[in-house]
């Protein structure tokens, strides 16, 4: 039998090794460089934001972030530059309380004076309903607005429909409109919480477990629970299967204003609070996030989760922060 030539085997090994090494060099992947990772990115008037006092945030279909400010209109961020719109450009009022985009791509801005609709550099202003506190685009592309003079209005099939509670005046002061994954519409007002399921309206009050006096925020977590935040309580409420359970905010305050609720992609629920920043609920405990952790201001007015999973925090006096959750 012919002896096996080690040189030949060695050559084959070297050739195969070279090909394998080369295959490794060809492969390349995009990822965030951990060395340049910015967990918190702060945007304020120093780097282009129109005003450091922020009321609301929204994301449009192109991924632009829209910031509604208290005194200087609305600012749009495309990831690199800021563009500001004020009354000088056609905006109805420089105090912008809510923002949403409809199914045609029009931007709806709820202001203290009314509704301002923007598209293709054209503004359409509606003052019939008074101030607009909250705007929602539902799954069917209908638009819902919470107004100061006309309770809740729904724009459906080019027609406005009004939702008015004739038995409870304060229930018509709606602060937040929210749609859950089951397509129920939730209305949080100064007096109660309403759930609109098809044509059925169910009303919940403090006796059902709603904390505080005035509902300011509603959200939904990955488990399907509905979260309700209000004014005047040390708790928030978690709703599941018809039952409200109160969960302590654990921030040491007996009275809170829960301005906003958002869920990140890892099962955590975030609560924006006045004075104490934000609290993160991981399913069992609350953890505090303040200026020391990177928030630009003490009072958080709005939390928005964008399509990439980043959390945007709007504050009363510190501008906006873009946060990458999961690295804390």
């Amino acid at each position: 039998m012919k002896a096996i030539n080690p040189s030949r085997i060695a050559s084959i090994f070297i050739l195969v090794a070279s090909i394998l090494l080369l295959s490794d060099c060809i492969k390349s992947e995009y990822y965030i460089d951990p060395e340049s990772l910015e967990i918190w990115e702060i945007y304020n008037t120093e780097n282009g934001l129109g005003c450091d006092s922020v009321w609301t945030l929204a994301e449009d279909q192109e991924g632009n972030i829209w910031v509604g400010t208290m005194y200087n209109g609305v600012s749009k961020f495309d990831g690199k530059t800021w563009t500001n719109y004020t009354t000088e450009d056609g905006l109805l009022d420089n105090s912008v309380l809510s923002i949403a985009q409809d199914g045609y791509g029009y931007m709806w801005f709820g202001t203290r004076s009314g509704l301002s609709i923007f598209y293709d550099n054209t503004w359409t202003n509606i003052t019939d309903f008074g101030g607009v506190r909250s705007i929602l685009r539902d799954y069917d592309d209908n638009m819902w607005i919470a107004t100061s003079d006309y309770a809740v209005m729904e724009y459906k099939n080019s027609t406005w429909h009004q939702y008015y509670d004739s038995e409870c005046e304060w229930c018509n002061v709606v602060n937040v409109i929210f749609e859950d994954k089951e397509r129920n519409i939730w209305l949080g007002s100064d007096q109660d919480l309403k759930k609109i399921d098809d044509q059925t309206v169910i009303t919940y009050t403090q006796s059902d477990g709603i904390p505080g006096s005035s509902i300011k925020s509603i959200g939904q977590d990955m488990w399907g629970n509905i979260w309700v935040g209000s004014t005047g309580s040390s708790n928030v409420a978690r709703y599941n299967n018809g039952i409200f359970e109160q969960v302590a905010l654990s921030n040491g305050l007996a009275v809170n204003i829960v301005s906003s609720i958002a869920a990140d992609n890892r099962g955590n629920v975030w609560f924006g609070l006045f004075v104490t920043g934000a609290m993160k609920f991981n399913g069992s405990i609350m953890e505090s996030f303040t200026v020391k952790d990177g928030l630009p201001g003490r009072s958080v007015t709005i939390i928005l989760k964008d399509k990439h999973g980043y959390l945007w925090f709007g504050t009363i006096d510190g501008g906006v922060a873009k946060y990458m959750p999961g690295l804390d």
Binding site: S250, N251, G252, L253, T276, E287, S288, T290, V291, K292
Partner: protein, 321 residues
């Protein structure tokens, strides 16, 4: 995990049992006494001095129902006992021993206090140390049946420990920072009986032991009053099987069961302890070069209840003269 461990043991035993080592084991005449072949007690006039180092870290416990669980709290405890032991052959059948231990133990903890109302985060690191002389030990061994090349030996050993180690917490800074005791705080008396048979190049033995503590009084935790106590009686039974790999390397395998009754704290129901038990496997490998001997081993708790489940590493150096 256990399956892998048993596999390793089987492989080692098989490889040794079946390896063709007759010509590797040199001559039938023993050139030096190893742990396998040494007499059961030192011969008259001989001294043996040993320096022992042991090390262990607290990582796992056997719970009350025998389940092995991690210690999940934030604490890192490492402890080491270093012993100087002197043995002397009073006669060919009687051996005396004296051991002086030095204990080194440290427990570290770190706690983060989060106080949202003041927006403060405070990290506190605490350390408990227990360094110092431990309880000294005297022992006297008597060969009831003198072992020879063909006959087994039977040895009885009486061991007394005296509470020379610090028994109370000291250097107290606060409830969580102080120096831990290094001694048990009581006198104990133990009787051990060892039956050994040497069948060159193997040996085996059976052991039984009983320890009786006499109790004492000590402070258990800082700022508290001394309390009368008595440790539970201790029982041990087991055996070992040893073999020579060659003239100067020996492998020892100890397997034994230990049981300790719960400690009692007189007239006090605040403190509580459980009965403890464990099955231990203690392999050692010993290297002998003339009068020097180096032994390394690990004590593995295989099963147990209310007792540490961590292995304990030991190394000792002996010199006989």
């Amino acid at each position: 995990m256990k399956k892998i461990f048993v596999s390793l043991v089987l492989i080692i035993l098989a490889s040794v049992a079946y390896s063709q080592e007759e010509d590797q084991l040199l001559v039938s005449e023993i050139k030096q006494s190893t742990v396998i072949t040494q007499p059961a007690t030192l011969k008259k006039g001989f001294f043996r001095i040993s320096a022992v180092f042991t090390y262990g870290a607290a990582d796992k416990m056997f719970s009350d129902n025998g389940r092995k669980e991690y210690l999940v709290g934030n604490a890192w405890t490492r402890s080491s006992t270093n012993i100087i032991e002197l043995q002397y052959g009073l006669s060919n059948s009687i051996e005396m021993a004296f051991a002086l231990p030095y204990e080194i133990s440290t427990t570290s903890r770190s706690i983060i206090d989060i106080i949202p109302v003041t927006d403060s985060v405070i990290t506190t690191a605490r350390k408990l140390k227990g360094n110092g002389i431990g309880d000294i030990e005297f022992a006297i061994s008597y060969q009831i049946i003198k072992g020879t090349k063909s006959k087994p030996s039977l040895v009885s050993k009486l061991i007394a420990t005296f509470p020379t180690g610090r028994k109370n917490p000291s250097n107290i800074k606060n409830r969580w920072e102080y120096d831990k005791p290094t001694g048990r705080g009581e006198t104990t008396l133990a009787l051990q009986v060892i039956y050994r048979k040497v069948i060159y190049p193997y040996s085996y033995s059976f052991t039984g032991a009983f320890k009786y503590p006499f109790g004492g009084e000590k402070v258990l935790f800082p700022y508290e009053d001394p309390i009368s106590f008595r440790s539970g009686n201790y029982y041990e039974a087991g055996g070992n099987f040893n073999f020579l790999l060659n003239d100067w390397i020996a492998v020892q395998n100890d397997l034994y069961y230990a049981y300790k009754r719960a400690d009692s704290y007189n007239d006090n129901t605040t403190y509580f302890s459980n009965n403890q038990s464990a099955i231990y496997y203690h392999p050692n490998i010993s290297f002998q070069l003339k009068k020097f001997r180096l032994v390394q081993g690990v004590l593995f708790p295989l099963k147990g209840k209310s007792i540490s489940a961590d292995p304990y590493y030991n190394i000792y150096l002996q010199y006989i003269f």
